[in-house]
């Protein structure tokens, strides 16, 4: 159960923005009236079922589809011998290459287990599935390697969304000059985002135009990519995504859309392709495991001299994806020397992708655990340690901060959580069989906006329609945009309709990077304001409406360079049964600074959801790969655990004022910051409860029991107890 506190502020609201609103489509959703992609009926619809490779590396020797073609209802079997050709050499989002499954069915190469090798299309989903199960595919297998571990000699550095290597100052000299050095290694496992609504796409041709109904995080992005993949003129692809049941970074252009378009094109009828839950574990992307090393050098009072954070992540043989785990320190802490480095190793595994708070979620676990280790070593309170290391400007960039209210998050959070009464000594507090402990961690996530277009129309009846190719992936974006538009128009929200999820509305940024709402607000606001002005000057409203269009490209290009980030302070209290290894999070408090909060109701849900994600990350989530086959074991939601309701006790999220000078929109986004630091706060609390440091996630019962054994042995030998992972004493 979660409880909510009254917020300290409702933002800078003068109207609708800053007031709590339930989702405009909420009633439709809870009554089942809202139709998701797979719910939309179409005449003549055929169903495609994907066939995935059963080997981890090799070539397809043969596909014998004759028997399947003869099965009841089967209308087509597509594979590399007969599928239409696609291009995959175009720049996709942010200039990166498209997901490699876009080039499915193009050749006989199998780069990992679960690679799509064929599509069986039939009259019903059951017939398609039966055909897919029956398809005989033979492989020439090659030896595979899926073993992720620290210290792989074949790892290399590559720039991802953020630069791989950043260096400032003389690291070795500063470490040598440090009175206290923490040098520790941490690992996080392979983690999967599995939105409740599986990836689903329906494609059909109508009047020479490709119509696509699809569950994604950005309709115009999806339309652009499909146009490029199939070499179609940009205006001839239309993607609609009215309701989307979760994305978390996984819902971009992947094989299911490609396969649906291929089949619709070949068969000249509508075709739907949906991933199964199990297929999502190899087709939908995931967060790479990480192996990280953090070195902190500090003066006796905990003031940092050196911060080094290196990370290793895995990627597939067909894509360079980097999980940039070292980026948090670059903006969190002042230090004379900074060094971060992100390396990847190519394995015969599916391609990882962005998963809620990419880089920051695993990176903050390592960094914020290391800060906790440093606090202990220096005898400085962990909150005070972080405040002592607050930078005045970007620690590496030297740029000014566009709002930085981390101190306020810690101070207000500590006050509400009752941090001042904490005795830092571990293993002191008990409640029956449970050892109790508390922990804290800092959070940060970048804030940005991407050029987008919008149209706002005034109607003669006094109402308005906003059209923008935004996506509401369950966040409440549609409702947030309604409030933003209402204020910009100077009218009540009941006079405004917001239409989203349609690529026909023009280019717009996607629901990703915690930058959806801010990017869309940058486009909607000037259009609405201009329309309001025109109406104020007495403009006539014709019967077909008066429309103003906007494009935020120029305005955003004019932004002054700054460190733009949201921040947060995460507090956690845990109970640990040392006899069984069970860990329960009894309460969490997250205090955030995330610019202007548009809709407190849904913003709080996003933040709390992120914190619950952090509980899962700390204690439960872990995909286990069997190196012998290269596949996952138990790849379903019975085998892959996320927090259940019973694991979520009191979780509170709130925010402090976070003014952002010089930013007319002032929205920083709340989609990802809630995850950041949450797992570290839990791990630090486990350390406080038990005296054992866990440097490996998740903190499973068997690991806690191993920690207890090590603590017992250590107390006999007089050494530091450690659950898992390594600590290197300098």
């Amino acid at each position: 159960m979660t409880t909510t506190l009254p917020p300290t502020t409702e933002g800078t609201a003068t109207g609708a923005v800053g007031t709590s609103r339930t989702r405009v489509e909420g009633r439709e959703k809870i009554t089942g009236a809202a139709r998701y992609t797979g719910d939309i009926p179409l005449t003549g619809l055929a169903h495609g079922s994907l066939v995935l490779s059963a080997v981890a590396r090799g070539r397809i020797r043969s596909i014998d589809d004759a028997a399947v073609r003869a099965m009841p209802g089967v209308v087509a079997v597509l594979h590399h011998h007969n599928a239409p050709r696609v291009r995959a050499d175009y720049p996709s989002i942010m200039g990166s290459a498209p997901d490699p499954t876009v080039r499915a069915f193009q050749d006989d190469r199998v780069p990992h287990l679960g690679w799509p090798v064929a599509l069986v299309v039939a009259e019903t989903p059951e017939q398609a599935r039966a055909g897919a199960d029956a398809l005989a595919v033979e492989y020439e297998t090659e030896p595979h390697d899926t073993e992720f571990r620290a210290g792989r000699a074949d790892a290399y550095t590559v720039d991802g969304v953020v630069p791989a290597t950043v260096e400032k100052g003389d690291l070795d000299a500063q470490l040598a000059a440090s009175a206290v050095v923490v040098d520790a290694s941490y690992t996080t496992p392979e983690e999967h985002h599995n939105p409740m609504e599986p990836h689903t796409c329906t494609a059909y041709w109508e009047d020479g135009r490709l119509e696509v109904l699809d569950s994604n995080q950005g309709a115009s992005w999806t339309a652009d990519d499909l146009a490029q993949a199939f070499s179609l003129a940009p205006g001839t692809v239309r993607v609609r995504s009215e309701h989307v049941g979760g994305g978390f970074g996984s819902k971009g252009v992947r094989v299911h859309q490609i396969a649906a378009v291929m089949a619709a094109t070949e068969l000249r009828r509508p075709v739907r392709v949906a991933m199964t839950r199990r297929q999502m574990f190899s087709l939908a992307g995931y967060r790479s495991p990480t192996a990280q090393r953090v070195r902190l050098g500090a003066d006796p009072d905990g003031r940092l001299r050196a911060l080094a954070h290196t990370s290793l992540s895995q990627t597939s043989q067909v894509y360079e994806f980097v999980e940039p785990a070292g980026a948090a320190g670059r903006v969190l802490y002042e230090a004379a020397a900074h060094h971060t480095d992100a390396r990847i190793v190519r394995l015969d595994v599916p391609t990882p992708t962005s998963m809620r708070a990419p880089g920051m979620a695993p990176g903050s676990f390592a960094l914020e655990s290391a800060l906790d280790e440093l606090a202990e070593r220096c005898g400085v309170d962990p909150v005070e340690l972080r405040l002592r290391n607050e930078p005045a400007v970007g620690p590496v960039s030297g740029l000014p901060f566009a709002g930085r209210s981390l101190r306020a998050c810690f101070e207000e959070g500590a006050r509400r959580f009752g941090w001042a009464e904490r005795d830092p000594r571990p293993r002191l507090r008990r409640d029956g069989r449970w050892l109790l402990g508390t922990g804290v961690a800092a959070a940060t996530f970048h804030a940005f906006a991407v050029p987008s277009t919008a149209a706002v129309t005034a109607w003669p009846d006094g109402t308005f329609t906003v059209r923008i190719a935004a996506a509401d992936i369950g966040t409440g974006a549609r409702t947030a945009l309604l409030l933003i538009a209402a204020d910009a128009l100077g009218v009540g929200p009941e006079q405004v309709r917001v239409r989203i999820g349609d690529s026909a509305f023009g280019p717009a940024w996607l629901a990703g990077g915690s930058a959806g709402t801010s990017s869309w607000a940058w486009a909607i606001t000037p259009a609405a304001e201009e329309l309001r002005e025109r109406l104020a000057l007495g403009a006539e409203i014709p019967a077909d409406g008066l429309t103003v269009r906007s494009d935020s490209t120029t305005a955003l290009a004019g932004q002054t360079p700054a460190e733009r980030h949201s921040y947060g302070a995460q507090f956690a209290e845990v109970a640990v049964d040392p006899a069984t290894g069970e860990v329960r999070v009894r309460r969490m408090l997250g205090m955030f600074a995330a610019g202007r909060i548009v809709n407190p109701l849904t913003a709080r849900s996003q933040l709390v959801g992120g914190m619950v994600w952090g509980i899962s990350m700390a204690l439960h989530e872990e995909a286990v790969r069997d190196g012998r086959t290269g596949g996952l074991v138990g790849a379903d939601l019975a085998g892959y655990h996320v927090a259940s309701h019973a694991d979520v006790d009191r979780v509170e999220a709130d925010w402090v004022d976070d003014p952002t000078p010089g930013d007319p929109v002032g929205i920083k986004g709340v989609g990802e910051i809630g995850v950041v630091g949450a797992a570290a706060a839990v791990a630090n609390a486990v350390r406080h409860a038990t005296g054992v440091r866990h440097r490996q996630l998740p903190i499973r019962p068997d690991r806690v029991l191993a920690g207890e054994a090590s603590a017992a042995a250590g107390s006999r030998a007089g050494t530091e107890p450690s659950g898992t992972g390594e600590s290197h004493r300098a």
Binding site: R433, A579, T580, G631, H641
Partner: protein, 334 residues
């Protein structure tokens, strides 16, 4: 999922006759496990015989003061029954520790005993599994086996039985009654599950086509408890569990029943531990010694040795709790 026939049985004889006539048929209780396995392709029965309408949903007190539980009693009804809660608290606790409210509303007592392991290799058709495909090998032994068996396993299979309910039934000396076309039969729970050996696919001693009709419990010590440990607080299978019943007189163990879950291919009755406790002074030392006596036979693999520690700690914790409750009551009585 393969296409299948569906029949709803009106009486026990009719249900048994349908299975007798068709070896590819399966009884359908709550379907909470069987239907999942059908979706995964692990089970592909040609016919499902729905037994939920059979008059097997009663819970009755027996002449000797025990309890007779019909095979189609749902887990929810079982856990809520006042006599179960009063006389066999460990049973009610075990049931409530399993699955979710929705699943417990569907799942039946008979089906619970016959559910299959959740070993990830058993449900993955692309992997070798002796339980699913005899002779194909065991993928778990050299693979992911953190939740594998530490007691009674073999080189052919290390899967654990997933039931919570079964662990409590094992502690309470339950007897399973079944019906075949040839008539009625009985199996004590102790003999109900077969040793793993080289036939892990043959899980029970039930004759082919038998329908479980009831589970009977003899009278038991009133003080009992079930503790389950899992990797999250709810909706997960055990990584270790203990069902225990204890009677203490003048500080000495008078009667003790102990069974372990998630450590073997079946609910594991801890007879050696019980024997070592007989007449012993009820306290942590004796409880630890009892656990050690039982776990001396444990043969963990690389990654599941923690279960030995876990079960030892759980045994001590649960028995200590029961002993303290007994002492409190004795104290109050005086």
């Amino acid at each position: 999922m393969k296409e299948f026939g569906y029949r709803r049985a009106a009486d026990v004889e009719g249900a048994v006759a349908l299975l007798d006539a068709d070896p590819g048929a399966r009884f359908l209780g709550g379907g909470t496990n069987l239907v999942d396995l059908m979706k995964a392709g692990v089970e592909s029965p040609g016919l499902l015989v729905d037994i939920r309408d059979l008059p097997l949903d009663a819970i009755e007190t027996t002449a000797d003061g025990g309890l007779r539980i019909g095979a189609t009693v749902t887990n929810s009804d079982l856990a809520a029954h006042p006599e179960v809660r009063r006389r066999y608290p460990a049973l009610a606790q075990a049931v409530l520790a399993g699955a979710s409210g929705q699943l417990r509303n569907m799942a039946t007592v008979g089906g619970n005993l016959l559910q299959r392991t959740r070993c990830g290799y058993f449900t993955d058709l692309t992997r070798a599994c002796n339980k699913r495909e005899p002779g194909s090998g065991c993928s778990a032994i050299g693979g992911e086996h953190r939740n594998a068996a530490v007691l009674g396993a073999s080189a052919h299979c290390v899967a654990v039985h997933p039931s919570d309910l079964g662990v409590a039934l094992a502690a309470f000396d339950a007897v399973v009654t079944y019906q075949t076309a040839q008539g009625e039969g009985e199996l004590p729970l102790a003999d109900f599950y077969r040793p793993v050996g080289d036939t892990p696919h043959r899980e029970t001693a039930l004759p082919a086509g038998a329908l479980i009709t009831a589970v009977t419990l003899p009278p038991a010590p009133v003080r009992s408890r079930y503790r389950k440990v899992r990797e999250r607080a709810s909706y997960a299978f055990a990584i270790g569990s203990v069902a225990a019943a204890l009677e203490v007189r003048d500080g000495r163990v008078q009667d003790v029943r102990l069974a372990y879950g998630a450590v073997a291919s079946r609910p594991w009755r801890a007879r050696k531990a019980e024997a070592s406790l007989n007449g012993a002074a009820a306290g942590p030392e004796a409880f630890a010694a009892a656990a050690d006596a039982e776990l001396a036979a444990a043969a963990p693999l690389d990654d599941n040795a923690y279960k030995v520690t876990l079960i030892r700690n759980l045994t001590i914790a649960v028995l200590t709790e029961l002993a303290e409750a007994a002492l409190d009551e004795e104290g109050t009585a005086r």
